[in-house]
């Protein structure tokens, strides 16, 4: 995920702002990290450059 495309991202549940944390990056690309919604107290993971912004219930169900 590219950092400069953060601005139009929103939490899938409350549509509020997300805060980016970076665990691994390459050039301007976030490879691994997270997107945190303070309002929902929910962390959306970024793996292999792809942010997983499925609603939390669906994410847990699909990774089960």
């Amino acid at each position: 995920m590219r950092k400069d495309l953060m601005d139009i991202l929103a939490c899938p549940m409350c549509k509020g702002e997300l805060t980016l944390t970076i665990d691994e990056e390459k050039n301007d690309e976030v490879i691994r990290g997270g997107l945190f919604c303070a309002k929902c107290n929910e962390r959306y993971p970024i793996d292999d450059s792809i942010p997983n912004l499925l609603p939390p219930d669906l994410r847990k169900q699909m990774s089960a």
């Binding site: 495309l5 991202l9 792809i50 942010p51 997983n52 499925l54 609603p55």
Partner: protein
Amino acid sequence: MARTADEIKGAVKEFYGERAVKASSCCGPEDVNDYKEKLYLLDDIKGMPETVASFGCGNPTAIAGLKTSETVLDLGSGAGLDCFLSAKAVGETGRVIGLDMTDEMLALANKNRDELGAKNVEFRKGEMESMPIDDGTVDVIISNCVINLSPDKDAVFRESHRVLKAGGRFHVSDVLLSRELTEAETNDLSLWAGCASGALLEDDYLARMKAAGFAEARIDSRSKIGSKPWFSATISAFKSADEGSCCGPTCCSLGS
């Protein structure tokens, strides 16, 4: 017995996950690359890697009339073909976001993006019933044979309307029904993931779009698939130009 939304989502995800690996088309048994060549202008797809397969039933980019610098959202972006074509159309100052819920498709799309060096394209894992996109940020929504897969189309239309800018456009290909399906057809999950039993009747589709807030919704073209009770259509809808704008003629005059 009716399938639950979760069962449908699970089946769709599994079906398209497998397709990312072994290619077959959504609306017929044809070879994917053959199918792609029937839907797209050859000049447009020249230079695309073989793995940029089309699983759709139309070519929404051709009708979208994209302009430089626009922001495009592709619902169910699959291997990314429509995203890459859109990215060319909007240029470096524009951007394209592909939304998909299938890991295998997203991985394939990202690989294709890197191969093509398409810097203005981003893929995100998410569902179109609850889009991870800010209000009023998208100029054009495109989608190719995907919305019919959703168990909650009203939510897809509401979310589409929400993320579009005032005056934003919705141009998609989708599968619609020419008659109600039998219960057996409706409950056949393989039919569902193959585009048919989740599809709506044409009038119902447009009525739901209008109920979601779109100022205008219409069918631009129809293309029948054999003698089946469903057909592929291109659909356009528009968000009113003065909607949601705080600087519209009525709103600003109320301010101090």
